[in-house]
Structures are given as structure tokens and as C-alpha cells.
Symmetry: C2
Subunit: 186 residues, 2 copies
């Protein structure tokens, strides 16, 4: 489906660079010898130090129980090289399918969690469950990013941004406005 990416360690307090622009991500999980992966567009950066990210993971998904029970996941950042896998993963359930096999994705061991990294993704963020206060009410989980792996190039990968209606916006060009910044916006 895609090429393996050579990734390097990346500061966990800087992962907002990849998540704040709103890409569709692949969230991998592991529990009791089983692995799974889901497509997710509903996430938020909540803090930099500690590096906190919120995910809304619907209770109907197989991943929901696996992530809740293991208290861990990996947020993987796919690019347009994986478009069809991203859609396919979002259109079947881990209850019925081994998605890693079906979509020819490579499981790689993480350093600090049991969930696998996806070898073909540009970046992988290992996460531990930090707060599930709003899990019952909104399926909203707060995670801490405990380890980050990022491919050094390209600087700005061509990410997918789901708009509903089977349509993705693709990441376009980047612009800098450094001269207008007095302080860093967060």
C-alpha cells in the first residue's frame, strides 16, 4: 500500500505541528493479543506540556473498547499515499477484519505502549490514557503523547482532511507570517 518511512525521535511537546492542522489520522490499538486500527478525524490539541490530545472515539467501534481497556493507543499520521487505506479502514470493523492484513500495513513495535506503529505513516505518536471523565458522556478521551516519531522529510506532508460526504481536502501550500507575530499563538 505504501513505503515504509524512516522516522526519528521528535519532541512530544511539538506534535501540535502535525495535529492542529486537522488531518485525518489512523489510531492503532492492541489488547489481549489482538491489534486494530481506526480512521479518525475528531481530535484536538489540549496542551503542549504535558502533551495532551483529545480524541472522540465512538462507543460503537471495536477500537473504543480496546483503547479504553488497554489505556493506550498510537496516533499515526497518513499522507495521500495511503488515501484508499484510510477510507477502507474507516469502512470496515476490526470485529470482522484484520485491517493490517487487508490494507497491507506494517505493524512496528512502539517504545512505550503496546499498540503498534504503522510503518507506512509519516508520524506516529504513542499515547497513554490521561483522563476519561467525559468518555461516558461524549466518547471523549484525553491522552498524553509519551513518545513521538516523525519522518524528517517532507517538511509539510500532504495530509488528508475529511470534510464529510466522501470528500477530503488535501493539504496545500504553506505560508509564513513571521513578521506579524509578537508572540507564539497557541
Amino acid at each position: 500500500m505504501g513505503e515504509l518511512r524512516e522516522r526519528q525521535d521528535y519532541p512530544v511537546d511539538a506534535v501540535r505541528r502535525f495535529l492542529e492542522p486537522g488531518p485525518t489520522v489512523l489510531v492503532s490499538s492492541a489488547w489481549q493479543g489482538e491489534t486494530n486500527v481506526m480512521t479518525l478525524g475528531w481530535h484536538i490539541v489540549l496542551d503542549l506540556k504535558p502533551s495532551l490530545v483529545g480524541l472522540r472515539i465512538h462507543a460503537s467501534t471495536h477500537s473504543h473498547a480496546m483503547i479504553r481497556d488497554s489505556g493506550e493507543c498510537v496516533i499515526n499520521l497518513p499522507t495521500t499515499a495511503l488515501t484508499d487505506a484510510v477510507v477502507g479502514i474507516g469502512n470496515c470493523s476490526g470485529r470482522e477484519v484484520d485491517k493490517f492484513a487487508r490494507f497491507d500495513l506494517t505493524k512496528q513495535p512502539a517504545a512505550m505502549v503496546g499498540a503498534p506503529l504503522i510503518g507506512e505513516c509519516h508520524a506516529c505518536f504513542e499515547c497513554r490514557l490521561h483522563d476519561e471523565t467525559l468518555a461516558a458522556r461524549y466518547n471523549f478521551f484525553v491522552f498524553e503523547v509519551v513518545k513521538a516519531h516523525v519522518a524528517p522529510l517532507p517538511d509539510h506532508p500532504e495530509t488528508l482532511h475529511y470534510t464529510g460526504d466522501c470528500t477530503f481536502m488535501l493539504a496545500g501550500r504553506t505560508i509564513s507570517r513571521r513578521e506579524l507575530f509578537h508572540r507564539e499563538m497557541v
Copy 2:
């Protein structure tokens, strides 16, 4: 700073189309005769029916208190026509500056909340505070979108997506994968 947009009523359960791709937004507020606006990149879609959106609004901002005390805000969607205003608004405080005046933005009355719509924005989503359980711990507020206004064209506006480091990714082209969808991904 920009042209006024002609907007139409839009279904509140469909605003994920504009928020899920992760744009930088302008959040306007009103309280005790004062108005304000902030730049925000940390938001999440939480549900479609009811239309719930989470915002992380730092406690140090002037908007934080205004939005918390009024229990209302408007999420406004700017395009690249407003890039310099988006940066400028994020680089000053409503404690010291009337940002609507400084950045030449037009306040328009909302239908259901006290906070103003921004006339130059492509879309405006009127919001009422729904849940502040995680406000003290993470500055995280859950809002319900109670009324939505969207310009009918263009179909896919050129939005700004902040990556940190004074740099924005701009929305690029769109692609459809309808043939791969068995069900709608949310």
C-alpha cells in the same frame, strides 16, 4: 480587510464539514456591553445531533472569561482573505485593544446569542455553552451549535490551518472517494 459575505442558513448537524478539516477559526464573544474576538486552532467535533463542538480556550485570554461568563460564542470561519487579521488577532489582547476596530471587521447581530457574527467570514456558527466539566482542568468547553450561517460559494473555501512556528498550511484541492465508501465515516 475583506468583503462582506452573503450567507444562508445551514443545517447545524452539518457544520463538521467546515470544522473537521481543522481550520484556524475566529471566536467572537460579548459580555456586559463589550465584544471581543480571538484566534483559535484547538477545536474538535464531538457529535452531529446535537451538534457539539469542543473548544480549548486558554484561561489567560480575555475571551476565556467573557465566553465562560456569557455562556455563548460564535465560531467564525475565515479564509486566506483574512490571513493578516487572523494573525493580528492572535497577537494582541482584547484587554488593551478593540480588535474589531483595529482589524476593520464588521460586527453583525447573531440570531440566538449575544456574540456578534463577523461579516467578512465564510461561515459563522452560533454556540451555547453545553458542558464545562473539563474547563478548570484543561480549559476545555463543550458547546452546542444552535444556528449556522454559511456562504453558498465557494464550495471549498481556502481556509488557514496553523502548524505553529508562524506558519499556516492552506487548504488545497479536494478529492472524492465515494466509490470506496460503504457507509459514512464520522
